[in-house]
């Protein structure tokens, strides 16, 4: 199997996450080798959190897991694309389905989606 080039990005590759049916882009995250292996083994998306500096099972707190349907690699072997089934309806920690919920308007970024969940309810301290 051709290897994912983790070296170019200091051990990390960007991962584009897309709804497997609608093709909506849900989020972008990062994987290291271990996150990739765990994802392949479990079928659930695992990422590397750059802020928390550690492995992260998407949905571990919120319950909004991602079941991986397909994975693609780009021409340079340094970027991945996952097609997932988004459990719970929302990928973004702000409660929107997609992290890309703001669209460029003339003078501003305009919110063009509705919240699926209330983050204060989901991420209880």
């Amino acid at each position: 199997m051709e290897r994912i080039d983790f070296a170019k990005g200091d051990g990390l590759v960007p991962v584009i996450v897309q709804d497997y049916r609608s093709r909506e882009v849900l989020m972008v995250a990062y994987m290291n080798q271990q996150a990739w292996e765990k994802t392949v083994r479990t079928g659930k998306a695992h990422y590397y959190s750059r802020s928390r500096k550690g492995l992260w099972l998407k949905g571990e707190e919120s319950g909004n897991f991602q079941e991986v349907k397909n994975a693609f690699i780009d021409c340079d072997n340094d970027t991945l694309l996952l097609q997932v089934k988004q459990i719970g309806g929302a990928a973004c920690h702000t409660g929107y389905r997609s992290c890309f919920f703001r669209k460029k308007a003339k003078k501003d970024w305009k919110v063009v989606a509705k919240r699926v969940f209330d983050p204060e309810e989901v991420y209880k301290k």
Copy 2:
């Protein structure tokens, strides 16, 4: 207008590029502030080439320009999503429509698309 956070990625943000109709993910590239401003001004996607270390008008060599239909920013302000009309039918320099033309199979990455153009014809030396 809320600012794009170029600082986090040393002056660059990743840009996901998606067909504006089919929502197929075509490629991932990077922008600096200047590439973003040129993109907004001209309506044609400009990127920053990390290998060539310079501004790059997508399609300047191949003729495969990208007309930007919509732009979205993510929750962290550090990733962009463009919806484009891909001129010439292919975004990838290898001649495939999408850079993500290989899909994970059991033991390998398997090519799942057909070439739109012959790179040797398009990128004449």
